[in-house]
């Protein structure tokens, strides 16, 4: 059984994919998502084998969404686009799976056949953004998108991953590892990432250092990351 998600901001477009999948008994639709943030949540939770993802979506597009996923839980992706010359060219060049709207059923079936023979995710790195400009976040049940440049630090604890900005904090489903790789945030502690731009003071302590951010928050720096941080900031 192949377990899949359908991600598109237009309800009828999602319905169309679901309708086409109804004829394939070996494919199960776990959920439909109307935007990238919902999708991220569902992917983390449901760990699907396959996603159908529209490229053009509000705030965080399909490419950015995939760039945010952990390599371990990366599903096989089939892109869907109405009109995006550059993306289509890139898909063709890399033999990635994609469908054009309105979706042609024959092509849809061919794509599914290809996926069935090898469900392993393709190496999408060449077409994905290297850095994330926005981070999908939530506080309570409200979704929001935070500009990466506004982040001061990110902390991980048993409650999840918390993104702190000057004016408050929210939560994200992104992992620290992805955040460390795809943003300019610096790992200063097992549980912390800090933005070098947000550092106001560093106080050396027994265990490493304490950083004070511009908004006055304290962030611990463990000894193993201190040297690198000092180098990054220009201290020898």
């Amino acid at each position: 059984m192949i377990r899949c998600l359908i991600i598109d901001d237009e309800p009828f477009a999602r319905q169309e994919v679901a309708d086409l999948l109804e004829k394939h008994a070996d494919i199960e639709v776990l959920a439909q998502c109307g935007n990238a943030i919902e999708a991220l949540q569902h992917i983390n939770r449901l760990k699907p084998d396959l996603i159908f993802v529209d490229i053009q979506m509000p705030r965080i597009n399909g490419m950015e969404l995939i760039a945010m996923l952990n390599p371990e839980q990366m599903p096989r992706a089939v892109f869907i686009t109405a009109f995006d010359e550059y993306a289509v060219k890139a898909f063709d060049n890399n033999a990635f799976d994609y469908l054009l709207k309105p979706i042609d059923e024959n092509r849809f079936n061919q794509t599914l056949d290809k996926v069935r023979t090898n469900i392993a995710p393709q190496l999408l790195a060449p077409i994905l953004p290297k850095q994330l400009a926005h981070l999908p976040c939530y506080s309570g049940s409200k979704l929001k998108v935070i500009t990466t440049a506004d982040v001061e630090f990110i902390v991980s604890d048993v409650g999840g991953i918390h993104v702190h900005c000057r004016n408050g904090f929210s939560h994200t489903h992104l992992t620290l590892k992805v955040l460390e790789e795809k943003t300019a945030l610096f790992r200063c502690h097992k549980q912390y990432l800090i933005s070098p731009d947000a550092i106001s003071e560093i106080e050396i302590t027994d265990t490493g250092a304490d950083v004070t951010t511009h908004s006055g928050a304290k962030v611990p720096v463990s000894r193993r990351y201190l040297k690198e941080l000092k180098q990054l900031l220009g201290f020898q």
Binding site: E10, F12, A13, E16, F83, P102
Partner: protein, 558 residues
């Protein structure tokens, strides 16, 4: 008594000389107080000669000379300033001294002083900003009179024996005082009149030229054709009062007004050789009817006797001619020749400007057309995809959507770039929104509140619709929550303000690609209605973006 007559005679000689000089270019040396050296030298030479001649022609009276030397010295000082005046007086005085006689010293000193004092008076008048009063005859009269009084006093003071001097002064004082003063005053009067005539002539020339420029402005820039040429020809003939005015393009007569209009008919081919030559050689041609004969090429009975043909140029390329005629019994005034060439230059500039404007507007029309024909492909394919999804579930709904999509496309592809009513524009918007509603369902909420009284208001096609499309494309479609778009109309003074407000607040002036489309709408509104009108954007990040269109409430201007 005979002394008066003799001195009058002398004075008359001077006045005749002045009159003659006033007809030559040298006259400007008299008429304007230049500070330049050549001017000073000229004044010095002329008035020193006056002084010397005055002494020569003067009447020998009991060992002294009755003369009009004072006139020369005073005028030299007035026109040349203190230094020149001093030298004129000194030259005249030294010359007088060389002639001898018992008043030689007194005369020499007084002539020098006369020149100097007149110069000082002129200097102070100029400083006081009254340089024109140097030319006032009454003032000149008074000044010369005083100068002569001084001379008489000096003769009485210095000439010995006093008895003889007294006898002399008794005889020569009245005629010399009178004639010198009168002569200087009349001299200045001639200068002043001549100057005034000059000013009047050139000011009437400038007035004429300015009037033509003012009246004809903008006529030819709307197009160089029969209609505009007629208007311009009419203005030229009214302002210059020449016999006839014609305007041609390179092949045919566009307008003819004045004498001979009965047989010089517009829209007939150019027949006169002189016009063809002017076009071929790109040169001003003039047949004055005296040296170069002018004969009408159409009718033997034509009364026109002289003609000036000036090419009209657009970027150095001849596009036509303008022709001024005078009848056989009238002289072609030089002033009209110069004016004619000026008019041609003026009209040429206007034609060039007109072509430039025309091309600019053509380009803009093409841009607009291109922009409108460009249906956003993303929108189109998504719409088709939506219809495809709906078709099996809800065939009537799908059918309706196809109809609305077709309507939207038809308007985009066929609508002209001209004016439409607000109602038409709203129809276009409805077709567009029907599709977007189907795509986004409850995520898009649009409310249009425009009173029906404005539905007949005219505006350029594609003014409002692109703004709504932008609000969806760059605004609400990028929101995670529900997108709300409000379209309103309100009256502000004499303007109608149509506004499109979305709740996304994602407007970024420089980054958005919508800039091109919005700029074009803005420019077109400004071109059509004026600088005051166009598009205004207010936005607050993450709160709202409000784009409003300002157009005149009164449609009279359209």
């Amino acid at each position: 008594m005979s002394l008066i007559l003799l001195l009058t005679q002398q004075m008359c000689v001077y006045l005749v000389i002045v009159y003659l000089v006033s007809k030559t270019p040298l006259f400007k040396f008299f008429a304007e107080g230049s500070k330049r050296l050549p001017h000073k030298v000229f004044i010095y030479v002329v008035f020193s000669l006056f002084c010397i001649m005055a002494t020569y022609f003067g009447e020998q009276t009991t060992g002294a000379i009755a003369n009009t030397r004072a006139m020369g010295a005073v005028l030299g000082g007035l026109l040349g300033g203190p230094v020149t005046g001093f030298f004129v007086g000194l030259t005249g005085g030294l010359h007088r001294y060389s002639m001898g006689g018992f008043t030689d010293i007194a005369c020499a000193i007084s002539t020098t002083l006369e020149g100097l004092s007149a110069g000082l008076v002129s200097y102070y008048l100029k400083k006081a900003g009254q340089s024109e009063s140097v030319y006032t005859p009454s003032k000149v009269f008074m000044l010369t009179f005083c100068a002569e009084l001084m001379q008489m006093s000096l003769i009485l003071l210095f000439a010995k024996p006093f008895d003889q001097a007294w006898a002399l002064v008794y005889v020569i004082a009245p005629p010399m005082l009178l004639i010198n003063s009168l002569g200087a005053a009349m001299f200045m009067s001639i200068v002043r009149d001549q100057k005034a005539m000059f000013d009047k002539l050139s000011s009437s020339f400038s007035t004429n030229a300015l009037k033509i420029a003012e009246r004809s402005v903008g006529i030819l820039s709307k197009g160089f054709n029969e209609e505009s040429s007629q208007k311009v020809a009419k203005i030229i003939i009214e302002e210059t009062r020449v016999g006839a005015v014609a305007i041609t393009d390179c092949h045919k007569l566009l307008a003819f007004i004045g004498i001979g209009a009965d047989h010089h008919l517009p829209n007939t081919p150019i027949s006169s050789q002189i016009t063809l030559d002017a076009i071929a050689q790109n040169k001003v041609m003039f047949a004055d009817g005296v040296d170069t004969t002018y004969a009408c090429s159409i009718s033997n009975h034509c009364n026109l006797g002289s003609s000036l043909v000036i090419p009209l140029r657009s970027n150095d390329e001849v596009v036509g001619t303008i022709k001024l005629y005078e009848p056989k019994n009238k002289l072609f005034l030089n002033i009209n020749r110069t004016l004619g060439e000026g008019i041609a230059r003026l009209l040429s500039n206007q034609i060039l400007y007109g072509r430039f404007e025309q091309q600019k507007s053509l380009l803009m029309q093409a841009e607009i057309k291109l922009l409108h024909a460009q249906v956003n492909p993303h929108f189109l394919f998504n719409a088709l995809n939506t219809i495809g999804a709906i078709i099996s579930r809800d065939p009537p709904m799908a059918k309706k959507l196809i109809k609305q999509l077709s309507q939207f496309l038809r308007i985009n592809l066929t609508r002209t770039t001209g004016l439409v009513t607000l109602g038409d524009e709203l129809e276009h918007i409805d077709a567009y929104l029907a599709i977007e509603h189907a795509r986004f369902i409850d995520k898009l909420n649009v409310s249009i509140t425009i009173p029906t009284i404005y539905h007949h208001h005219k505006m350029p096609a594609f003014t409002l619709q692109p703004l709504i499309e932008n609000a969806v494309k760059h605004g609400t479609s990028l929101m995670l929550d529900e997108g709300v778009i409000k379209v309103n109309a309100k009256v502000e003074g004499n303007d109608l303000l149509l506004s499109v407000t979305d709740n996304a607040g994602l407007y970024q002036p420089s980054i958005n690609t919508e800039g091109l489309g919005m700029n074009l709408v803005h420019k077109r509104l400004q071109n059509l209605f004026g600088e005051h009108y166009g598009i205004e954007v207010h936005s607050q990040a993450d709160e709202f973006t409000c784009v409003s269109v300002r157009i005149p409430l009164e449609e009279a201007t359209l």
